[in-house]
């Protein structure tokens, strides 16, 4: 709990040039060593303390190069935590740093709890007594907040899906247990290797599906990059404000890092939007005007979603038509705003221009049409999937790491069963999978197995 090796992103979230993933603990150097490929035969486990090394991080599963990095190795006890510490400097940006973190977590580190580096520094005698109370407050406050965040996520589909998977495993476990503890009860079907393979394969497939959603999770981790465009005074800032107010900004999904509320991130019905250059909107009200047509086209091209705003109370202009031309072929939602004022716009023309896009009419001032807009955003994002209602997206680094571990352990279970290892022994891996999944939703109580045992089977003397 305390002496294992922990890891976290230790630079603020954002678009810095460099980000740092820090590891602390006995295994820090070994874990980083497993992933690091330096120049020549250089191995991190051999290098001197307090040195920095250039190289690449390799995914040991696929041998794929993940990142170009500089790695600092600091051996205990002369470090911040008095434990072995490794700092991996990688390229800034959420995607790369998250990938590095996940790699490290998959390799055996545990995601640090809020304030845990500081706590370790304290526990190892690095911080003096006067700071003790402060540390305790920190742990309590941050844990509570992290728990609240976690609880928020609990209500989601992810938790239901995980619960279902766990129940599936639990029933299997109870079945195996009953065979062990009541070997003579003939009315309990004997759990066979074949049945176990079926169950394990199912669980594995489901976990893989979940992890796949995390792959396309760029969107979920980074947000769907969204640009609001339109002529001056069509209501772009109102739209921004409306989205932010309605949905509040996203709170960091990585506990332990201090990325607080970032206003440019909003969560619309589960779709995180990263509103690009929104600061620009606030300052000049008009991105097109501010950075010129060429530059703005560039920005538009990089966007995942365009919110194109038109003025209901004004006639369509050439500028509007140009914007339509600029966003052709992209995911666009056309918003005809200011319906509280008398109509001047030619709606037929708008419909023609927007025939490949979604069209919503709003009065942001009077809060009319916002629901439809959000619906449009959500349905656009989830489009393409057959049954969007069933998709569960995993976006939290901790969850992804746990899912990866769970996947590994169910794969080991599967290998074990296929190799003919006795059922009660491979069960070790089933239980581990079950516990790891439980950690995602904050449940790992062992007693539930025993409860399952007695509710599922009729036992006794």
């Amino acid at each position: 709990m305390q002496l294992d090796t922990i890891a976290a992103i230790s630079t603020p979230m954002g678009e810095g040039a460099i980000a740092i993933v820090r590891l602390s603990g006995e295994e820090a150097i070994n874990i980083a060593g497993k992933l690091f490929q330096g120049v020549g035969e250089k191995r991190l486990t051999d290098v001197a303390s307090h040195t920095i090394h250039y190289g690449h991080l390799i995914d040991p599963k696929t041998n794929e190069v993940i990142e170009e990095v500089m790695v600092s190795v600091m051996k205990a006890p002369k470090t911040f935590t008095k434990e072995n510490v490794v700092e991996i400097n990688c390229h800034g940006g959420l995607v790369s740093v998250n990938r590095v973190l996940q790699l490290v977590l998959n390799a055996g580190a545990r995601l640090a709890e809020p304030g845990e580096f500081t706590k370790r520094a304290f526990l190892n005698g690095r911080i003096d007594l006067s700071q003790a109370e402060a540390v305790m407050d920190l742990i309590r406050a941050k844990t509570d907040r992290a728990m609240n965040v976690a609880l928020g996520q609990m209500e989601g589909r992810l938790s239901k899906l995980i619960q279902r998977l766990r129940q599936e495993i639990l029933e299997t476990l109870a079945h195996v247990e009953v065979n062990i503890d009541y070997p003579e009860y003939d009315d309990v079907e004997e759990m066979t290797h074949k049945l176990l393979i079926e169950k394990a394969s199912y669980v594995k497939k489901e976990i893989e599906k979940l992890l796949q959603t995390s792959q396309q999770g760029k969107i979920l981790r980074e947000g769907l990059s969204t640009v609001i465009v339109g002529r001056p005074n069509v209501g772009k800032s109102s739209l921004l404000n409306s989205l932010v107010q309605e949905n509040k900004a996203i709170v960091t999904d990585i506990p332990g890092t201090t990325r607080d509320v970032i206003e440019e991130y909003v969560n619309v019905r589960g779709v995180p939007l990263r509103l690009l250059d929104t600061a620009g909107i606030r300052e000049t009200e008009d991105i097109v005007e501010r950075i010129g047509v060429e530059r703005s086209r560039q920005v538009l091209k990089e966007a995942d979603l365009i919110l194109l705003v038109l003025n209901y109370a004004d006639e369509l202009t050439l500028e509007d038509e140009n914007i339509f031309a600029a966003v052709e072929g992209m995911d666009v939602i056309v918003i005809v705003n200011k319906t509280d004022l008398p109509q001047k716009i030619n709606l037929e023309r708008v419909e023609e221009l927007a025939k490949h896009h979604k069209l919503v009419t709003t009065s942001l001032l009077e809060d009319v049409g916002v629901d439809e807009l959000e619906e449009a955003i959500a349905s656009l994002f989830f489009a393409g999937s057959i049954d969007s209602g069933d998709i569960t997206y995993v976006s939290n680094s901790r969850h992804i790491a746990l899912l990866n571990q769970a996947l590994q352990s169910i794969e080991e279970a599967l290998e074990g069963v296929q190799a003919g290892v006795p059922i009660d022994i491979v069960q070790i891996d089933y239980i581990k999978t079950w516990e790891l999944l439980g950690e995602i939703i904050g449940e790992s109580v062992h007693d539930s197995l025993i409860n399952q045992l007695f509710s599922q089977f009729c036992l006794g003397k």
């Binding site: 305390q2 728990m147 065979n179």
Partner: protein, 629 residues
Amino acid sequence: MQYEAGNYDVIVIGAGHAGAEAGLAAARQGAKTLVLTINLDMVAFMPCNPSIGGPAKGIVVREIDALGGEMGKNIDKTYIQMRMLNTGKGPAVRALRAQADKFAYQHEMKKTLENEPNLTLVQGMVESLIIEDDTCKGVITKTGAMYYSKTVIITTGTFLRGEIILGELKYSSGPNNQQPSIKLSEHLEELGFELVRFKTGTPPRVNGNTIDYSKTEIQPGDENPRAFSYETTKYITDQLPCWLTYTNEFTHQIIDANLHRSPMYSGMIKATGARYCPSIEDKVVRFNDKPRHQIFLEPEGRNTEEVYVQGLSTSLPEDIQHQLIRTVPGLEQAQMMRPGYAIEYDAIVPNQLWPTLETKKIKNLYTAGQINGTSGYEEAAGQGLMAGINAGRRALGKDELILSRSDAYIGVLIDDLVTKGTNEPYRLLTSRAEYRLLLRHDNADMRLTEIGHKIGLISEERYQKFLAKKEKIEAERERLQSTIIKPKKEVQELIKSLGGSELKDGIKASDLLKRPEMSYAHIAQIIPSEVELDDEVIEQVEIQIKYEGYIEKSLQQVERLKKMENKKIPIDIDYEAINGLATEARQKLKTVHPLSIAQASRISGVNPADISILLVYLEQGKIARVSNE
């Protein structure tokens, strides 16, 4: 009229499965021990099923034996049938189970107690304890005898305010119509102990001469019976079979029609029963889709015709029991000799105990067995042994012995009890052990002989034998790890005949053994050992090599556990003074008083955040002490 009756180091109240082990363990460590029982004819009596062992429980018996306890030896001398269960499964869950000659069993145990030099066995009913300054100093019996001692162990089983319930009938009684112990229960309450009311039950017994066995299936013992004790050399080969039959729709109809007369359903029984030990009426109601339930007919001994009807545990009225029995194939003409019944009794809420089984409230007072909320002879004996060891050591001025969850099932059992308490009679199950691959039937001696020897319960001779065995295992393991098997023709042919894939290259013998189709015997065929190895050595070598990867995984978990266990919490810790603990956690911590961070983290309601805070607080205290110096 009270009189002074003597001075002892240790007094054990009760001579059931817990009391017998407790008395012997204390006496064998050198403590002058008195064992008091309400009825001398009931020493180590089996009021319920005439069997010992089974999954988890059988491993406990092996552990008791490895620590120098008596249960294994006693059953080895008195079984009528021995079976190894779960042989088709992995080594971690194999377990022995013996059918006992219950009368021989109790006579044999009584003889052992009587012949133990440091032990005095006396009939007497203890009604109160002698307590001074919250410390137990002795006991007083109904007849006025005052015995003084340094420590006292209570092992009263189901006798405390016992009440037998049979249909509409309810009367004050211990098990099997023994005298109940009422005053002692009241006394414990006065001392401030929190008691709970639990319930258990037993099925009727029938006369074997009236059973038509041709309608049942025979369940014989193993052809080559094995022993519980590592010291047993003589095996009983003359075994008696058990018999299997089933209930049917008529049985179930009778139960359904008479549920209103069942004390379970009429509300007469309020105490908590165990889910793993349901009565037949419970099974029929809860699992009403099941067309039949198994009934095992188990002989109660060699010199009796009484047969235990396992699976028909009931508290229905006697007249209904007569009808019930006769619906079962083979029992149509069966004559019921004793009816089944339910029994309610007082138990102590076990989180009032330290992991040594000493009570937190009264110093030098220990409790063990069913009084601590468990059920089962083996669970009782395991606790009795540990309470006997610790009460004995206390009396002799030695330090305590606590088994960890990674040492033994006994460790799991006691830790569960004192850390989590229990809201139903507690039974060991293999699933309660996190490290069951390490806590095997076969390696109980490897795990515990060292400890047993250290505390003086394992003789030097046995210890030397154990060391020799250990050495042989090591040597053979090393040999297999360092010998390369080359892909010679006869090797390839052997592998092919077993359905494995041929070797491409030379391979370590140990790696070849890891293949599922290979056994030690196959390896020995290719590279025979120069020294003769007995089966127990071979079993160890085979398991240790074959399941190395999984064992390694478990050991890593244990390593983490040990680190947390080494973080001790001082007994005088003031939880009120720790800022930031959640209210529920604070209350639980105050009640349980965990001795280590590991134990604290197992308490339900104590969250990781609370543990973090606790760690910081403990560390703060350490720093504070250092800076004061």
